[in-house]
Symmetry: C2
Subunit: 83 residues, 2 copies
């Protein structure tokens, strides 16, 4: 069965995120003064062929550990749904 | 009140995503042959000060339209939760 997987990878809390700071300044300059704590990372969407939802999640976490995320500087979150 | 907002911005369906293709090839080379249709975009997390959850959503969508996303080439999705 095919599962639709959403992965969100963001810089770890406490690590400097220059891109997020730049966007926050730009938002403030545009009048969006209510925005704060902007962090920018990667959003990855993919289809995963697996026998169960749990298997799709496990395989996607393996992909994150091996390729998609940098475990030293990034945290990731995996959401799986039936396609 | 402060709301925690997650924004996911990905290339529109049908548009070429070279980064996604490159990652898909790398996943296949690593043995993750069950992955397909990889699309890569931006994940943005921020805190938004607003009077209600709906207001936080509306303001964040305005941020996406004005700065965060390119409406010609990207789709975005906004998720709001109470912080």
């Amino acid at each position: 069965m095919t599962y639709r997987v959403h992965v969100r990878i963001v810089p770890r809390a406490g690590l400097l995120d220059p891109q997020g700071l730049a966007v926050e300044h730009a938002l403030t300059a545009l009048g969006f003064t209510e925005a704060s704590g902007v962090r920018i990372g990667k959003a990855i969407e993919l289809a995963v062929e697996a026998g169960s939802l749990d298997e799709a999640r496990t395989r996607t976490r393996a992909m994150c550990d091996k390729l998609l995320a940098n475990p030293v500087t990034e945290d990731y979150r995996v959401e799986v749904e039936a396609a």
